[in-house]
């Protein structure tokens, strides 16, 4: 009965604090909306990205046409064609208007055809014993297609793009050689009606994201930001909870409650349960934002996986860890200001190292190792497991155990500190 009334009192106090409620529920919603929108393009895989590319085509022939078609077909680039000088092209790239610039010099296609024809002639000549063709010096001059990259381009991305373009050009070269071969063969066998040579790749590269339990979801900004900022808001509850404890201590309520028969722990338990429920409501609301609101803004819909009981368990464990932390802050801090400052700074640090702002998979190795000390990282990893890998209880148990251990440690720490202060 005491516990129920304690919860009821906390509920009344909380629901009458309109500003506090607004911060509790509006802050994470706004954070999720803003950060998800900001990070969406960054989170999209490279395949989905649209790289602005400038083509300066001075060739106007088969090579430039095929290259352009292949680049369009790759859905990798947004292509703009302009007639510019080399210097103007460099300037366009350097000023950030385009990510890549390609200059295809005049007569490149014509020269490519000539070179292909020469090489095929040499090859066939070697079969017919025409030594003059074979003994000719090798043609070492190369046709040049100039690429310019934005100076901010990362080396790895530049290599990927270069390789892609090089592969397209190689295909064009191969087609040109095949075409020359075809023509030479026709000259040698004028009555033959050869079948068209198949040029489709013989080896197919099958790519797939490794998934678990038949889940085929790939990471996106929504799947990161919704659980991440929900966890952040859950842990931010430590500030109102600590403030609540400190206020009770300052205004003599704690003194009065401690003089009453029965355990003061009931009052604390009532507070904690109330705040855990608040954190669960926060979680449910943020899931709704991910499922219903974000798609309206053109963002991907949050897929919450198939394991709702496990999802609830992770949310509940995270809520307990957050309230336990709030209790510890409220016990140790001597003033509301101290609790607000310490609580906020600590939550922000835990969020930063835990992969809330920047996901751990893009962090340097050393930070990935540090990230595992943050309770927010444990919660986030558990949510990733459920959302992305269809994990069940067995797989997320280590993370849940860590969150519960953190809660127990915070509770124990608060109790011991309180005891130490009273016996001092």
């Amino acid at each position: 009965m005491k516990l129920l009334y304690s919860i009821y009192k906390e509920y009344k106090v909380l629901t009458r604090d309109k500003a506090g409620l607004a911060i509790t529920f509006i802050m994470p919603t706004v954070l999720i909306l803003i950060i998800t929108l900001i990070q969406d393009t960054t989170f999209r895989s490279v395949n989905e990205a649209s790289v602005p590319l400038l083509i300066v085509d001075r060739d106007h022939d088969s090579l430039s046409n095929t290259l352009e078609k292949s680049l369009i077909h790759s859905k990798f680039f947004v292509i703009t064609k302009k007639q510019l000088t080399d210097e103007e092209t460099k300037k366009e790239i350097a000023t950030g208007h385009f990510f890549i610039g390609i200059i295809i010099p005049e007569n490149t296609s014509k020269k490519l055809r000539e070179k292909s024809s020469d090489r095929i002639s040499k090859l066939l000549g070697s079969f017919s014993g025409d030594s003059t063709l074979v003994e000719d010096a090798h043609d070492t001059t190369k046709l040049n297609v100039q690429l310019y990259f934005d100076p901010i381009t990362k080396k790895s991305f530049k290599t990927t793009i270069s390789n892609s373009i090089e592969r397209i050009i190689s295909q064009i070269e191969m087609q040109s050689m095949m075409s020359s071969l075809n023509e030479k063969m026709k000259e040698s066998f004028p009555l033959a009606t050869p079948a068209k040579l198949e040029t489709t790749p013989l080896v197919n590269l099958t790519e797939e994201y490794a998934s678990y339990n038949n889940s085929t979801i790939i990471p996106n900004s929504v799947q990161h930001n919704v659980p991440a900022w929900t966890l952040f808001a859950m842990f931010f509850i430590c500030i109102p909870l600590a403030g609540n404890i400190i206020k009770e201590r300052d205004d003599g309520s704690a003194f009065r409650l401690l003089t009453m028969p029965g355990s003061y722990m009931i009052v604390i338990l009532g507070k904690m349960l109330t705040y855990v429920v608040v954190s669960l409501i926060q979680f449910a609301l943020m899931l709704c934002v991910g499922v219903f609101i974000l798609p309206l803004l053109g963002l991907p819909e949050l897929n919450i996986g198939n394991n709702l009981p496990v999802l609830f368990l992770v949310a509940f464990s995270s809520g307990l860890a957050a309230t336990g932390f709030g209790l510890l802050v409220g016990t140790i801090a001597t003033s509301h200001d101290q609790a607000s400052l310490f609580g906020a700074v600590f939550v922000i640090i835990l969020a930063a190292i835990g992969g809330i702002w920047v996901p751990t998979f893009v962090m340097p190795e050393v930070m990935k190792k540090i990230a595992v000390i943050s309770p927010m990282n444990w919660g986030l990893e558990a949510f990733y497991g459920i959302f992305l890998r269809n994990f069940g209880l067995k797989e997320i148990f280590p993370e849940v155990a860590k969150l519960l251990a953190f809660f127990a440690a915070s509770l124990g720490g608060s109790f011991l500190y309180q005891k130490y202060k009273r016996l001092k």
Partner: protein
Amino acid sequence: MSILVDIQHVSKKYKDAPRAAVNDLSLIINKGDVFGLLGPNGAGKTTFISMLCGLFPPTKGDIYINGQTHKTHSKECKQVIGVVPQEIALYPKLTAWENLMFLGHMYGLSGSSLKEKIKENLRILGLEENTHQKVLSYSGGMKRRVNLIAGLLHNPQLLILDEPTVGVDVQSKQAIIEHLKKLNKENGMTVLYTSHHLDEAEDFCSHIAIIDDGKLITQGATKQLITDNHCQSIEEVYLKITGVKFRDK
């Protein structure tokens, strides 16, 4: 008269403090007494009250309440005590009714008896019409009266009042003192009262103890103390014993 509170050579020294906050204090409070505990700031009154309420144990000595100690019978000792802190220990965003219902439940009370008790006290202290207003909107005097009711809900045998009339209007002060006198007279409630209002203490208390630097300086029946010290009032006795120097600690 039977003994309600028996303090035997109690001392309390906080860690790192240069001297004991309470030093070998012994006194007895009989049932039905209105006992005034007076002393300058830093004399050790709050430490003494905290030990009496069971918030922390003494470094030395024993405190007996109805013959029992907090060490062995914490729940029973706490059931005897009602506390009215100097601060307004109420939740401002709750109404008086909600505050008192919560505190009543924390004392283990419930149902119609609790509701009746709250209604009766609110009526006696003139707060009937403001029952369902948030405490936030109350005047200082109204808050003090609700603060007092919160300590009375479980009919304590010993009511501990820490500066119960500080910062209140004359009418509220009068209402509080009269209500306490009535409870003492009609119900035999024992009162331990601390205050800097020495004229109020002289009028209200049957017995007074003056402590300074953690030590008991003098104690006795109020009138006897005045006579023995050849003074006209408790204020004179107080100044004679504790001196006129400022106690800015």
